[in-house]
Amino acid sequence: MIYAESIPAEPFLNAIQSVGFTDVVAVPDTHQRSLIDILSKHETPRFIQAATEDEAIAIAAGLIVGGRIPLVQIQHAGLYASVNHLRGIAEDGRFPMVLLIGLLSRDAELLPHEHGGSMVRLAQPLLDTFDIPHYLMEKEDDLNFIELAYQSALEREGPVALLVGVATS
């Protein structure tokens, strides 16, 4: 069974723009390469590149202090690298922040928890450990999860994650 299909970059960008995100703070992610490419060519949302995922979370929090609406774009490996900032800034600081996380090497014929490798398998359990709600984006129709995630982040006053199932196209 095929669980996931690639989401094209153009409608992905449209969905991000329609929510009203003003900035995308990103660490390059192979999985979301086509989306990064199109984001970096548009003025809105502004594309801000960080060296590490910790920094991306800190920058996004500062943007919120200044009245902006940031989206953090990282990879699952970056999620693992950034957990202290995710906890200490985003969660404990109660910043309504949406994280777009690419599941690099996700096999579309397996659910994430069925993977043998830890990179894909542990992303959702890690978010559960941090009590961070998450949505799995498996097809183009799931782009409406972006708005849901933002509303959820505002409501809970904290981060909410969107997991990109397979590579964007």
Binding site: T52, D54, A58, G62, G66, G88, D92
Partner: protein, 207 residues
């Protein structure tokens, strides 16, 4: 173990020099310098960073990118910056124009027992910032030179980096001897000080 490099600047003297020049800047402080700044100079444009070492400078970068019209000052620690050296590249790349990043370099991890910062006596944060691409990066080891140069540095288009070789200060961290709080299952943790602090700064920036 390396000996700390000689330094002459007291943290209080440096903070006084900065406070004398403060207007509407957002100040993001962390580590041992945070406590004396907070006790003497706290305003509704202060953000305090506890529990995420290395994050103060990029947190402040976000504020500056949101509000390029409002100058942002970062009061960083040496051990803290060492944890996120990549942030120098991130800040230089973003090129915030009204961004002053000061590292208080006392050469030790003050609160955990005065362990030396790595490569102490041989490395220079100012040289790292310069190499990363900051518009200006300078190092001071006496308060007179710092005060003399500060007004001009505040006029330089950023990002500007200042490394102050300061006297070690700060008490060793003491674990609070309180009755343990049992976190109720299913309930969210209490908000941090940051959670109650940042909306104050957010509101101030809207005035």
């Amino acid at each position: 173990m390396n000996n700390p490099i000689p330094s002459k600047i007291s943290v209080d003297a440096a903070l006084n020099a900065l406070d004398k020049r403060r207007e509407d800047q957002v100040v993001v402080s962390t580590m041992t310098v945070m406590k004396p700044w907070r006790e003497q100079f706290e305003s509704d444009r202060d953000l305090f960073c506890v529990g995420f070492m290395g994050g103060a400078s990029t947190f402040g970068l976000g504020v500056q990118l949101a509000r390029p019209d409002v100058p942002v000052w970062i009061f960083d620690g040496d051990g803290s910056l060492a944890m996120q050296l990549g942030s120098l590249l991130t800040i230089a790349n973003a090129a915030p124009r009204k961004f002053l990043h000061i590292v208080f370099h006392n050469g030790i991890y003050a609160t955990s027992g005065a362990q030396p910062v790595l490569a102490e006596g041989r490395m220079s944060f100012a040289e790292m910032a310069k190499g990363a691409g900051y518009a200006e990066a300078v190092r001071f080891d006496d308060i007179e030179s710092f005060e003399l140069a500060l007004d001009d540095l505040l006029e330089v288009e950023g990002p500007v980096f200042i490394e102050l070789l300061t006297e070690p200060t700060g008490e060793s961290f003491k674990s609070p001897n309180n009755v343990p709080v049992v976190h109720p299952e299913g309930e969210r943790a209490l908000p941090s000080a940051l959670a109650s602090r940042w909306p104050i700064v957010n509101e101030s920036l809207q005035k």
